[in-house]
Amino acid sequence: MQRGRWISRNFRLAAVAALVGAISLAPTELRSADAVVSARAIPTSISVTAGTAKVVAGLTSGATATGTLTLSAITTSSCSASTTVTAKATSTTSIKVSSSSGISVGNLITAASGISAGTRVTVISGTDLTLSANVTLAKDSSVNFQGCFQQFFSVNNIGSIALVAFSISQTSASASPTGISIQRCSGTWMGGSSAMCSGGTISTLFTNFAGPLATSAFTSISGTFPTGAQAKQLRAVCDRSGQTTQINVRVSTATDLRAGITTNG
């Protein structure tokens, strides 16, 4: 019994001593061969900001307002014609003129007397004209025609990326048969009431596009359109005064941006 207690007591003592020895003699740090060493260059960063590609349509070359442009009440005429009546007309919509050159459907017709304001040409058949209201004219009376009612507007590049193209569409409220055409000038529009295209030719993007509220497909206009500048001056024109149309323009990053450039910096 006594021997058993002696053995137990010494066994506990031996165990404690073994732990003390293990702790005091154990290594306190890893050897260098156990560590993995690496170096990292000081992390650095660079910011990348994308430019913007956007155009707007406005009445002036400095317009920047976003949204649809509405061209309303287009009444400025830029073309005219004059001729004479070859037969007397009394309270009728049909007249015969000596020449129909320069006269278009939708033209306003005026005379010294006998024609109500706002009367238009509705049909042209040779030198026979059909009008929108009755007129009373003596033979050989002079009659004048006004057409080419126009409104200039501008498409401006307000983005930060130069463009090589943009697209344009119009929604017209014009009634058939007359509509509104959108035209471009390869040179420079003379502006105002002039339809002159200086140093270039006029081409029509939408031919006599008529509503009501018909929307055309987008048509692309190519060229060189730097940032912060007017991309193109265009003209809406119709043979009937007081018409309204809406202009929408757009740019696609896939097709309308300048070619990529390489910069060393």
Binding site: L25, A41, A50, V56, A65, N248
Partner: protein, 215 residues
Amino acid sequence: MKLISGTVLQSASRFTVKILVVAAATVGGGALVSSSVFAALTAEATGSTSVTAGTISWEQSTGPTGAGFTSGITGVAPGDIQNRYVNLANTGTLDGLTPTLTIVGSGAAALTNILKVNIQKCTVAWAAGSCSGTASDVLGSVGTPVLVSSVTGSALTNLNITSASLTNRLKITITVGPVTEVTTNGVLPSGIQGATSTLAWTFTLQQRAAVTVEG
């Protein structure tokens, strides 16, 4: 008396045994965990040996052209390429191993996701974007840049990584990939236009493999 003497002797004997047990256990316990480490302690040699750890230092600095990473990139369009020039060198005393690059993009994810990168090294200084020496690909290639978003611990090749080796003269080319966004009537869509992405670059170099030196 014999009995008393026997008792005294027995007590003394027990005390001696205790001492021996403690001493043996103490030495034995320590020996269990450190026999290999302290094997040399049994040697008789005297003197000291100094051990100095080597260094590995992977230093990045601005290259001879431009302002390196400190020059931000603005107004880019799809298809644009921006080059930045930096130097990278192991200025430590240990040779390097397995150089890698990690790029972490933050900000506009849509923009980050179309950015691509390739890195070239030139044996001489880059001049106006050209290498008059020998150029080699470090990451990707001119014709096949890699997406920035995929550069995570990506291996870099052809770098000088030994200690005190030649400086790596790098041209980092960032390419803006294609994207289709349509802006109508001046109203920007939600996308990359006008957005900013910040790219954080970390070049890493591991130490060479451990070596055994007889000396």
